[in-house]
Subunit: 318 residues, 2 copies
């Protein structure tokens, strides 16, 4: 690898995490996206190649989440560098695993390293969010922030943006099952009611407060009791065939809890052990199969590091 | 004091604590209520005396929060003991400081000790809540639980009841200013809207999650940023003359945050030091005075112990 060429990896993420609609997310180890950045002789950001997207993503810089994020970063730094970007999608698109966020995060991490790391990691978040805004119509940080920083991340506030890193209980393992159906983020948003009952909101904020306390205390029972979304899951789950049976199977096999990952269709579960995670994943996939829905499963401890620059030796294999 | 006579103290509490409507409360050291319990020769629970209430509270056992709590406790234990109760109110009634909860908690703590402590402290909560149910029409635990157990208490769920003890940051001091006006709990509940916008709910659960994280981390800045209630305070504050100016004065003097204590009219603030707490209290009282409203102020560290049996030597002075 030449010195003027840097690759970065950014992991998939699970947003919402039960009761934390729009304010909570965590990072997986795998899957994730890789972005390679190198200087070019123009003064423009050029997307030279996208792999793994089945031809679905646009190569125009200003329509691509990675391209937009890098343009905003360079604008902020007032740098007129020409940079080529290669985006290697290594996770399913439109799956509810923060695919667009991962590409944007990997892109800004790679480019920041390429130009001599003028910004700290957390300072890159606003630019990754600009990529998200282009892709989703709004700058939801609950995928981009954990993909960048790792662990469980609370978005305490959006105006102003206030990011809080929570503790990651050592034993937690995540299962994510991605059924091969399409749920558009836009549809998953529009299906939500614009208002809710105060009595339901009280249940929800009891659960999000309990989940945060459970994470901070590594209290797995409390995490389990708190993984309960009474507002969003009941509405969005109708877009996922067999969701209730999939969730029941996960809980039956010992999952601490199970809900929709982001806007779906992926479904996540948390467990305390890798062996339980495998049984939970198998049970969830079996139920999807019974619905005639193919799926794939990812099992991962919680990723506490987030996005990183890929060492050159590893990169050589790309 | 004779062995068959026990006194217990239960502290005043601040419920809601900004964004934690119905799910969060903390205990003060002072003020609080004391209840004296002794055996009598009947098989009945008899309220022999109430002091400090200005004659406002009923002496009929089944209409008094302390009486009901003790009757429910004895029923549960299937004990047909005769017990006399004296209730010494040492805090203002109807102030938003959990007065009815404190009497019920002190009563069950005293009686449990009197009958040989068959139950652990936390096991007394359901009976104190029965007292609350009679007094308020609903068994809200956000005063009774912190009065009994001390510290910051999260009511993760009401069905089933799920009580979580949070951390108490060492430097926290509470200021409570009680303006001498009346706000009925029932009115303060009825004024609330039955529904809310999802976008406001998201702000609220970001803040309650942030507050819990701030308490667990002893992160005073995060506590300060999270002490923000966009749902209940804007509605209830119209019942408190000069509330916005009182809050502004508290923040101006260095309070971490300021909001309504329980259903009001008391207003609380949190600070990091006793000296700041005193300045905050003075400023808040000054603003109330400018509105022509008399008030009194309480300054207290957070009480981490909660209700306790009063040692006999102290009790002799009652």
């Amino acid at each position: 690898m030449k010195d003027d060429c840097i690759a970065a990896f950014a992991p998939a993420t699970v947003a919402n995490v039960g009761a934390g609609f729009d304010i909570l997310g965590f990072a997986l180890h795998q899957p994730g996206d890789e972005v390679v950045a190198r200087f070019n002789d123009s003064h423009r950001v050029v997307l030279t190649r996208i792999t793994g997207d089945g031809g679905k993503l646009p190569l125009q810089t200003e329509l691509n989440t990675a391209g937009v994020a890098v343009m905003k970063l360079l604008e902020h730094l007032n740098l007129r560098k020409g940079i080529d970007l290669e985006v290697h999608k290594k996770m399913p698109l439109g799956s509810g695993l923060g695919s667009s966020a991962a590409s944007a995060v990997a892109a800004v991490v790679a480019v920041n390293a390429l130009i001599g790391s003028p910004l700290k990691k957390i300072e890159l978040l606003p630019f990754a969010l600009e990529g998200e805004r282009m892709a989703c119509g709004a700058a939801h940080a609950d995928n981009a922030a954990p993909s960048l920083l790792g662990g469980f991340i609370l978005i305490r506030s959006y105006t102003p943006l206030d990011i809080v890193q929570l503790e990651t209980p050592e034993r937690l393992h995540a299962v994510v099952v991605h059924p091969h159906i399409e749920v558009k983020t836009k549809d998953a948003r529009e299906i939500l009611k614009k208002s809710l009952l105060l009595k339901d909101a009280i249940v929800q904020w009891g659960n999000i407060a309990g989940l945060v306390a459970g994470l901070m205390k590594s209290d797995y029972d409390l995490i389990s009791r708190s993984l309960n979304d009474v507002i969003v899951e009941p509405v969005r789950s109708i877009l996922i065939p067999g969701f209730n049976a999939v969730k029941a199977a996960a809980l039956c096999e010992g999952a601490l809890g199970c809900s929709i990952s982001g806007s779906g269709p992926s479904v996540f579960a948390l467990t305390t052990e890798a062996s339980i995670a495998q049984r939970v994943a198998d049970a969830m996939q079996k139920v999807f199969a019974e619905q005639g829905v193919a799926s794939n499963a990812f099992i991962s401890k919680i990723n506490s590091e987030g996005a990183y620059v890929v060492p050159s030796s590893t990169y050589a294999a790309l």
